[in-house]
């Protein structure tokens, strides 16, 4: 039965927003030293996530009344809290980029349009049509969360970034976020299976989400490379991405492609991707999350 995800080990953690705080004064524009392309490819996260995660929260608020499982309801509420914090934390990076001469507003205004209008609440008659659009978006979020968990797992293990002296504050933001994505990676998929779980819908929304992510991401990288005030001839190409994937400063193209059939497999469950243990271990040592714990006590 699709409602009972198999292989869900007993590693349930209570999802809670952690209070984190990052100050960006000391972070250079190219925070992966000497590698603007890798820097900007990862920077695209700051463009997509504030609007995207606000949209997740917006959709899930509407979904809550449909949930009939108390444990899942708690998880979804915890998920919403964590996503709200993520969106706030990434939002704070954008003014810092602006101060360094790289104004992201032309791009983020479009991302805002994408999530608020194109994927927003449409004027639909209540009943089947409205529910269909809601379920479609729930499935889209499940597909996107497959990739956020993939990226979270990648960044937790991206030791090459440390070796190259990447900015510690930025790495902490990415790893705190990545670890929480790994921590709550099952929620979106469990919610989708609980409410609908249709295989055709899963494939359809995966294709949409994957295409949209690739489109927005390459566009964001190009935008940053072309508008970077320190680069005279900033360009972005797929080859740049492939090379850095081999090097380990960006996700490897092969890993990215291999994650596709995993999500499309009928036996897929996110609990088999990444490791909760590693995520929780990072959160226990993250400078930002640590400061949050102390502040709370």
């Amino acid at each position: 039965m699709s409602n009972k995800p198999e292989g869900r080990p007993d590693e349930r953690v209570t999802l809670k927003a952690r209070k984190v705080s990052f100050s960006w004064e000391g972070t250079p524009l190219h925070w992966v030293p000497g590698d603007p392309f890798a820097t900007h490819t990862i920077n695209v996260l700051h463009l997509l996530l504030p609007a995207g995660e606000r949209w997740f929260v917006h959709v899930y608020r509407q979904v809550l009344p449909y949930i009939r499982d108390e444990r899942l309801r708690e998880d979804v509420i915890g998920f919403i809290g964590q996503e709200a914090m993520h969106s706030q934390a990434h939002d704070e990076v954008l003014p810092h980029l602006r101060e360094q001469g790289l104004d992201p507003t032309p791009y983020t205004a479009q991302v805002d349009w994408f999530f608020e209008k194109l994927l927003g609440d449409r004027t639909l008659p209540p009943g089947r049509a409205r529910r269909w659009w809601l379920m479609e978006r729930v499935a889209l979020i499940a597909a996107i969360e497959h990739y956020t968990a993939f990226l979270g797992d990648w960044v937790l293990n991206a030791e090459e970034l440390d070796r190259r002296g990447a900015d510690p504050t930025m790495l902490d933001l990415l790893r705190w976020h990545g670890a929480e994505e790994v921590e709550h990676r099952s929620v979106a998929f469990d919610l989708f299976t609980h409410l609908d779980g249709g295989y055709r819908r899963r494939v359809r929304t995966w294709a949409t989400a994957f295409a949209a992510l690739v489109f927005l991401w390459q566009r964001g990288t190009r935008f940053f490379m072309e508008n970077d005030p320190t680069l005279t001839d900033g360009r972005a190409s797929f080859k740049d991405f492939y090379v850095r994937g081999r090097r380990g400063t960006l996700p490897a193209t092969g890993d990215l492609l291999r994650s596709v059939p995993r999500y499309l497999s009928r036996a897929y469950h996110p609990s088999r991707e990444g490791s909760t243990e590693q995520a929780v271990a990072y959160l226990a040592s993250s400078p930002a999350a640590l400061a949050a714990e102390e502040g709370a006590s």
């Binding site: 809670k16 809290g81 709200a84 914090m85 706030q88 992201p104 479009q110 502040g295």
Partner: protein, 345 residues
């Protein structure tokens, strides 16, 4: 069936042409063809964490330390505003800004050591030193200076800090009076400057050692006078008793469960719940509406924000902007100042 060579060439040629046209189009306007949201939302955080350098630390009165925090391009502020200071232990405390609002390279705050307090002031006095970096958020203003025909200020001790920039900002010739009370003259910060601001006009500034008599000042208020008070809880209560519309600045203990009981009406649901003195609005509401969103339960994540339709809120969160506070609250920590709140739930 294999395609005819001519068709293949035509298709390939058409594809090449389309690609060239697209590339040219994108070169002209790189962000073509997506529309933008008229009023962008992203990249406008409610407040940003700033790391500022402590460049001066002076004891300006008995038990009162003034800190100068330097940074670059600091956000502007208006008299009455305060700063959230994140102390080395992670504690967050609010301090009124008492420097020059036009100075965008530094903030000035002053704090009194409260030995039996909640530990914030002790930490500032014992651990914050010159050359150290501290993290701040804000500034925020919930004690703004309004336009009025005349002003009456009542300050108790360290409560002078938000009022001082107001006195400096009032236009010359404005009608104002100040009652400044403290234990002893030596323990009252900024005394000299305050007396100088009073100028030639005798009776404008009254300095009292010990408990002040309020009746003379507050019983015959001029028509339309704006009354401001900041100081110990007892002083603010006494002023509030005589002038109910007084504006007070209160740095409430940020404990979640602590206060008076009150009622919350859930307008859309049509129900009324009671919040006990040792409970929260969130707990009371969740008993009725289990789908209510919340997460951190400490007033920083913003998940539980709700619209307030009526009633006066005592905001205890660390997140909402002044504009948001006008008509919404975080129900996990904030409480009512009036007997009843009406929420849009």
């Amino acid at each position: 069936m294999t395609p005819k060579p001519l068709t293949a060439v035509a298709v390939a040629g058409a594809a090449l042409l389309v690609r060239r046209a697209l590339r040219r189009r994108i070169r002209v306007s790189p962000l073509w063809p997506m529309p933008a949201l008229a009023e962008p939302v992203s990249g406008r955080p409610r407040s940003r964490a700033l790391r500022l350098l402590v460049t001066a630390r002076h004891e300006i009165a008995e038990g009162v330390v003034r800190l100068r925090l330097e940074g670059r391009d600091l956000p502007r502020w208006e008299p009455g505003a305060h700063l959230d200071l994140v102390l080395p232990s992670g504690l967050v405390r609010q301090y009124s800004l008492c420097g020059d609002p036009r100075d965008t390279s530094s903030y000035t705050v002053a704090t009194r050591l409260v030995t039996d307090g909640r530990g914030g002031s002790r930490e500032v006095h014992e651990q914050v030193r010159e050359g150290m970096e501290v993290e701040v958020r804000g500034p925020r203003n919930r004690f703004p200076l309004v336009e009025a025909p005349s002003y009456v200020f009542v300050a108790g001790g360290i409560g002078i800090t938000p009022i001082l920039p107001m006195l400096r900002a009032l236009p010359e010739g404005a009608e104002w009076r100040l009652l400044y009370a403290g234990r002893t003259r030596a323990s009252m910060p900024f005394l000299e400057e305050v007396e100088k601001l009073g100028g030639e006009n005798r009776g404008r500034v009254t300095v009292v050692e010990g408990r002040p008599g309020l009746d003379a000042l507050l019983m015959n208020l001029p028509e339309g006078a704006a009354v401001y008070c900041c100081g110990p809880e007892g002083l603010m209560a006494a002023v509030q008793e005589r002038v109910p519309h007084v504006r007070v600045e209160r740095f409430a203990a940020r404990t979640v469960r602590d206060g008076d009981p009150f009622e919350v009406e859930l307008r859309r649901t049509g129900r009324v719940v009671t919040v006990a003195a040792d409970s929260t609005v969130l707990a009371a509401v969740r008993a009725e509406l289990p789908n209510t969103l919340y997460s951190c339960e400490q007033g920083f994540c913003g998940t539980c924000q709700q619209r307030v339709l009526a009633g006066e809120v005592e905001h205890r969160d660390e997140l909402l902007t002044d504009a948001e506070r006008d008509d919404s609250m975080l129900i996990c920590v904030s409480r009512a100042r009036s007997e009843r709140l009406v929420l849009d739930m």
